[in-house]
């Protein structure tokens, strides 16, 4: 394999591996950190990393050194332009699904924050180990 192709593949793998490392670190944070607000931060990082993996799957590499991929918006609306557009643009389907997933994750995070405030009013602390010991 020639060195340029190996370098491209290596840089793509570094990107994929660092998004997966983000996922692992935030999973560790959800399980092993006892404070409620830290768990909310870790859950939001987790859901963002999963959405980024979904968009990475829909990416399209360069077809040749002078033909980069294009955004999923058609600018040339003639029949030949549309055929060329369908051969060069990135995949629009993962982007549409991730749009829905971001809004739902945001609604769940907002609701979790309200629950945290109600927990603090009731138990006077947000440390989950003490709440488990108190039991209402």
């Amino acid at each position: 394999m020639e060195p340029t192709e190996f370098l491209n593949l290596y840089l793509l793998s570094v990107t994929i591996a660092s998004i997966l490392a983000n996922l692992v670190i935030s999973l560790y944070g959800v399980f092993y950190k006892p404070h409620y607000t830290k768990k909310i931060i870790a859950v939001s990082i987790l859901s963002d990393s999963i959405n980024t993996i979904a968009i990475l799957i829909g990416f399209r590499r360069w077809l040749s050194p002078s033909q980069p991929p294009s955004v999923a918006i058609a600018t040339d609306l003639s029949p030949e332009g549309i055929k060329k557009f369908a051969n060069v643009a990135v995949d629009p389907l993962p982007q549409a699904l991730v749009l829905t997933a971001i809004v739902i994750g945001l609604a769940v995070t907002l609701f979790l924050i309200y629950l945290g405030y109600m927990l603090y009013r009731h138990y006077k602390t947000l440390d989950m180990r003490e709440i488990r010991r108190l039991k209402g």
Partner: protein
């Protein structure tokens, strides 16, 4: 010079590595206010990554939500409950 495709992937890899460092600092930190700032930095790096992956619709949702609204609501929660995470 560097060919175009390699430059594109090189900037993507640098941005992703900075986001790993920001995530690690956010999970380890005991002061919750600094943890929220680190998480906002990680969201900024993800926003640049979405631009490089040619997804402008996702970018326009992600920047107001994850850099502005969620840290704002989290800071209000921290100011009404506790700020320091105990051992």
């Amino acid at each position: 010079m560097i060919p175009g495709e390699t430059l594109h992937y090189l900037v993507m890899a640098i941005v992703a590595l900075i986001s790993v460092v920001a995530t690690y600092m956010a999970i380890i930190e005991k002061d919750l206010l600094k943890a929220v700032i680190f998480s906002a930095l990680q969201s900024g790096m993800y926003a640049i990554l979405y631009f490089l992956l040619l997804a402008p619709d996702i970018l326009l949702v992600y920047i107001p939500v994850a850099v502005g609204l969620i840290p704002g609501v989290l800071i209000v929660l921290i100011s009404r409950t506790e700020r320091w995470e105990k051992e």
